[in-house]
């Protein structure tokens, strides 16, 4: 077993897109937050999602992750329909979303935060505890795995600290680490570096690129154009709930519609 064998995504060549969104609509009252959005994400890439405030980016992420049910359209992940699947099932299929504002489990330690997620635990149902194959040693496996993930993101020294005591940037890293515990194929990151100092930003993006090289796919919302243009291979622009443009960074930078609605002169 290799050093990073806990990441499941590698070892398989996927030619088509790993995620495909087709005509998704989500309305709140009369407001069309996502209004017939279509896009696709290719595997083993870092794909950026940009657009002005209120373009529906976060809503789209929530729809993909199953936290909101779409009003219309379909979502295909890894060759199978995703819409209509409960959020907790979606995670098991390998798609995990992090939150824009870190939502750490405040009164749990960093290690505990990670252990909540993986490995897909027996012993999480009363039935398993009483009759099923629950074994306390699986906790030890979870701890070892969590320690490897903490090593990857550079939070090892804060293992037993309460999550509430972490700084804003460290909380972002914790979000990423927690998502990695679920052995994802595709990670949706909602503004992963907003409010994070430049050093930590570089560290975090380094982690993301390292994981991409190992076979994970990232789809991220970001407002920092330096980050997006330098680190993303593919960019999707959303405007008023729809896809405005898709392409490589250079093409997006030159696209007049994008300049008009978002990038500015």
């Amino acid at each position: 077993m290799g050093a990073r064998s806990w990441i499941r995504a590698g070892g398989r060549t996927v030619t088509g897109p790993i995620l495909e969104v087709r005509g998704v609509v989500k309305t709140f009252g009369g407001i069309h937050a996502v209004d017939g959005c279509s896009l696709s994400v290719r595997p083993r890439t870092i794909t950026g999602l940009i657009g002005p405030n209120g373009a529906g980016k976060s809503t789209l992420f929530n729809v993909i992750a199953g936290l909101y049910a779409p009003d219309a359209g379909e979502i295909v992940f890894d060759g199978r329909r995703l819409d209509g699947t409960p959020a907790h099932e979606i995670v098991r299929r390998g798609l995990v979303k992090t939150f824009q504002i870190p939502r750490e489990f405040r009164n749990m330690t960093v290690l505990e935060n990670l252990m909540v997620v993986g490995p897909p635990a027996t012993g999480e149902r009363i039935r398993d505890l009483v009759f099923g194959p629950y074994d306390r040693r699986q906790d030890e496996d979870a701890i070892r795995k969590a320690e490897r993930v903490l090593e990857t993101v550079g939070l090892r020294s804060l293992r037993d600290e309460y999550a509430r005591n972490l700084s804003g940037g460290q909380k972002k890293l914790l979000e990423l680490a927690r998502a990695l515990m679920a052995d994802p194929k595709l990670l949706l990151l909602d503004e992963p570096v907003a409010g994070v100092n430049p050093t930590l930003t570089q560290h975090l993006l380094g982690v993301v690129e390292g994981l991409r090289d190992e076979g994970l796919t990232f789809f991220l919302i970001e407002h920092d154009m330096d980050v997006v243009m330098k680190r993303c291979e593919w960019i999707v622009v959303m405007h008023q709930g729809r896809t405005l443009a898709e392409g490589v960074p250079e093409a997006i930078k030159a696209n007049p519609a994008v300049i008009d609605s978002y990038l500015g002169g």
Binding site: N107, E112, V116, E124, P133
Partner: protein, 473 residues
């Protein structure tokens, strides 16, 4: 006799405190662990008390069949009725939780608050079933008719209640450390984040809620059994309030803290009751009201200065070394640990039997067939001390593995329960019962060991889903 007085006085404090601790442990699973605001604790306690009372006194039965009237001296009938009360309360909890838990948290509070009043009013008005305000009376205690009412019965009930509380504590400690408990905690901290990380928050909440309700039902059954008489107004919203005070005072999320909270809280009430005789007349009459004021002030003080309670939820730090290694000692070989556990088992049952014999005073210790003989208190005292020393020494040998160590007291409690039944059986059934009950106890303990992964036995359920250990390299 001195110890008669001591047992009697002690049980007036220990029994109510222990029952309150059981109620608080149940609430702690819902509120402390999962963050579910159950405003209808009284309803589930009341339902438990009344279902138990009705089953056991026969009020519930069709008169010509009268199947549910087991009579006061059948311990298993009472256990079955208590189990029925738990199931009923648990199912009621699930029924109320399914529609409300999908909504925002506040709705659960509103629904349970309303439920509490509905239940109380039904109990008050369905007189044919519950007796209404005329009380439901003649609810037996376990082993009634074998132990004379009075100090002996109180002493036996005290042991019984404390045993149940410790059993529940062990269960809760196990559950809070299990992946299930961790997932509940995650739901408490942030439900949406937990869902986004693959937790089925709804199922988790239903499970925790109905399990808590079932144990509230158990509290109700115990209370009914202890009092012998219940009235609907006992289960007014004040019960719910008390349960919350205890959980917050003790330390929300920490089962041990919650028990401490219940004892501290009860000690306060008990002390003022004891002082009543020495207080000036006008003040003595108002002491109950003063109590309630002081409790309120106490709660405010705790929330201001110690918001996490007397004994806050412990920080999770995984243990990497066994107790022996932490003491820088080499653990004894496994067979010695098992031997130590066996000795602890029998020694503790000796402690239990001695205590029982003290309580009953008319039967010999250690299950010898000398039923009905008087035992000199000095003999019992020596037996008690010897057994206790043996128990503690033997437990020392079992420090090696977390579960061997933890299981010791549980084993002893099971055995005490067995001895309790044995000592009080008519003599002609003693031998067969002794063998059977010991066997059952041993099987139960073995089961716990296998489940906890201490014993490696190739049992079918361990292989049910391939490797149980997940995908660690």
């Amino acid at each position: 006799m001195v110890y008669e007085y001591v047992v009697l006085q002690l049980s007036t404090f220990v029994v109510p405190a222990t029952l309150l601790a059981i109620l608080a442990l149940a609430l702690n699973l819902q509120w402390g662990q999962t963050g579910l605001f159950n405003a209808g604790v009284a309803a589930f306690a009341g339902v438990g008390a009344y279902v138990f009372g009705m089953l056991v006194t026969g009020s519930f039965a069709i008169p010509d069949l009268y199947w549910s009237h087991w009579g006061p001296s059948e311990p298993w009938g009472i256990v079955a009725a208590a189990f029925g009360a738990m199931v009923f309360a648990g199912v009621l909890g699930a029924i109320i939780a399914v529609p409300t838990l999908r909504l925002r948290a506040d709705y659960l509070a509103i629904a349970t608050l309303a439920l509490a009043e509905i239940v109380r009013l039904i109990l008050k008005n369905e007189r044919a079933l519950t007796g209404g305000d005329q009380t439901l009376a003649f609810i037996p205690r376990p082993l009634d008719g074998l132990v004379p009412r009075g100090w002996a019965a109180d002493g036996v009930f005290m042991l019984f209640a404390v045993g149940l509380m410790l059993g529940l504590l062990l269960l809760m400690e196990f559950l809070t450390r299990s992946p299930w408990g961790r997932a509940l905690k995650a739901v408490r901290e942030d439900e949406e984040a937990a869902t986004a990380l693959g937790k089925n928050a709804f199922i988790l909440k239903i499970g925790a809620f109905s399990m808590g309700c079932a144990f509230m039902g158990m509290y109700g059954a115990l209370l009914a059994s202890f009092q012998g008489v219940i009235v609907p107004d006992q289960f007014a919203p004040f019960t719910t309030f008390i349960a919350y005070v205890v959980v917050i005072l003790g330390g929300s999320g920490n089962p041990r803290g919650v028990i401490l909270g219940a004892y501290v809280f009860s000690l306060f009430g008990w002390t003022t009751q004891q002082l009543r005789a020495y207080l000036p007349e006008g003040f003595a009459l108002r002491i109950d009201f003063v109590n309630q004021i002081v409790i309120g002030v106490l709660l405010v003080v705790v929330i201001l200065w110690r918001p996490d309670g007397i004994m806050p939820e412990p920080r999770f730090v995984p243990r990497t070394a066994s107790a022996w290694r932490r003491l820088r000692l080499r653990p004894p070989p496994i067979p010695f640990q098992w031997f130590g556990l066996a000795v602890a088992w029998f020694a503790f049952s000796g402690v239990g039997a001695t205590l029982l014999a003290v309580g009953i005073h008319s039967r010999a210790a250690f299950g010898t067939p000398a039923l009905g003989t008087q035992v000199h208190p000095a003999v019992l005292g020596i037996a008690f001390v010897v057994a206790l020393v043996a128990a503690v020494t033997a437990l020392g040998f079992t420090l090696g593995h977390g579960w061997v160590r933890r299981i010791g007291p549980a084993v002893a409690l099971v055995d005490v329960a067995v001895m309790l039944v044995l000592l009080l059986q008519p003599s002609d059934r003693t031998v067969s019962d002794f063998v059977l009950l010991r066997l059952f106890a041993a099987l139960g303990v073995l089961y716990v060991f296998v489940r906890a992964g201490v014993l490696r036995v190739p049992v079918p359920w361990a292989r049910a889903r391939g490797s149980a250990r997940g995908g660690g390299p």
